[in-house]
Symmetry: C2
Subunit: 148 residues, 2 copies
DNA sequence: CTAGATGCAAATCGTTTGCCAGTCG
DNA sequence: CGACTGGCAAACGATTTGCATCTAG
């Protein structure tokens, strides 16, 4: 599951540049480092159960509540961002990724990051009807290279 | 809340052309007609509590479970579609609307349908990385005309 | 009439919180 | 040594289901 992914730098608990707040919580613990590492190393956004499973490989009896608490801390301090797919699943990804969107394979269900942004209007534009655009989220669906 | 919206034809329990299945359930009841009508008349996708409130205006002691059950039936028979916003809320809209996207106002939180599709690649295209695009969902954020 | 639908309450599921023991600094 | 953390279990909110009653056909 975690093999063959695009390798990102190994996660450290060093504050990433875009993080507005210094540290998630006051203490550096193994559990927190592993939660952040799992998110950082994935090639797409992860669900809480996926993060929990990854952390448990190293620290077996980690409670799911710890994962939820750590994810919340990481969100508040802006080390990670949440992504909700149209199916309703909430996933988390590193906040230091540049603008991108998500592609969910309709065959295997996995979610991948897509760097190419296929949108024509950007922040500040006025849409027909008088709506002022400030941001957008796109989810693409189709078939991933593995499933073709 | 429901004033000033784009008026759509009053809901009937007549099978809409795109619905694959004939009728939602075997019996035509007042509750079902009101659920479908509420969804059909809105100018954007509705949440279950919003639908419930609308139905209760006409049929006071309607149970929320009935709304959930009816929504599920309408989804299965393809009279309506579900929409999940990136915030995680699930909403429902009529299935007979043409291709469109959603705009959520960051001030008032309401969701509006946007007919203009600001995307450049369409079904069948191959994205960098070998992903074959089949569908897409877009949520736009900004300020609605009322809140400007 | 009678299968199918509703209303209500109990059951689930994912997520959050309270509490006490464990550990970082 | 304390305050901050983590594990576990109870609490929660949204959705689903069981069941007795009601109603469309």
């Amino acid at each position: 599951m975690l093999d063959g992914m695009k390798q990102r730098p190994a996660a450290t608990m060093t504050r990433p540049p875009q993080a507005k707040k210094a540290l998630p919580g006051q203490r550096q613990t193994r559990q927190r480092a592993r939660v952040y590492e799992a998110i950082r190393r994935a090639r797409g956004p992860l669900t809480v159960p996926e993060i929990h499973a990854a952390v448990c490989k190293t620290i077996p009896r980690t409670g799911i509540a710890t994962v939820y608490r750590t994810v919340k801390l990481l969100l508040e301090s802006e080390w990670i961002k949440s992504v909700t797919l149209p199916s309703g699943e909430t996933r988390y990804e590193s906040a230091d990724l540049k603008h991108h969107h998500h592609f969910q394979c309709q065959t295997c269900g996995e979610v991948f990051d897509i760097d190419h942004c296929p949108i024509t209007v950007h922040a500040g534009a006025e849409l027909p009807g008088g709506y002022i655009l400030q941001d957008h989220e796109i989810t693409l669906y189709g078939t991933c290279p593995h499933c073709r």
